[in-house]
Symmetry: C2
Amino acid sequence: MSSSEAECLFCKIVAGDIPSTAVFETATTYAFRDINPQADVHVLVVPRNHHADAAALSSEDPALLAEVMLAGAEVAKQEGIEESGYRLVFNTGPDAGRTVFHAHLHVLGGEQLGLFGRP
Amino acid sequence: MSSSEAECLFCKIVAGDIPSTAVFETATTYAFRDINPQADVHVLVVPRNHHADAAALSSEDPALLAEVMLAGAEVAKQEGIEESGYRLVFNTGPDAGRTVFHAHLHVLGGEQLGLFGRP
């Protein structure tokens, strides 16, 4: 484990060292509620293994990327928003407001969502 | 080809039957500018093959999902927003404002982006 992983917030959440509200989990993924929700439903899905961002996850472990996406779809089903609709978001870098450097998928829904580009 | 594919806007764009402004392409993906951009950079990446939405693409062809994501990262590099940051978005269903039923990844950046949940 590199020092960046040892200090990684989401690695600590996956390990249970920092508490979170679990929503769904598989052998390779973990889903929990965002502590600053932007919608009625706002869940984060992370791969248990550390990958820096969406591009790294996609190139380093494409099967795991698909598992993260399918976990997001399963969360939508569990939360009852599969039919009403949901948004899946990966943010990379400062302009996207990204703050944790462990790839994570946002799952949002439960109400009519707004636009997703400029403020 | 099903009738839904025959009538699919993005299948027609991939086929060149409807014009678009190409940004990047591979053997399996095609990227073009959104005609209603929500940010300075707003590009759509689609798999050339028809898949209804992100969940279907993830379960039916996980390798292709990764190719779409990596094409999105390559678009970010080409557009000069790899370091400043970018957002990758899949919308599913009415609450997310989805309008075309061929899985597509939004790539947004080039300026400070806003929130991405409720309006």
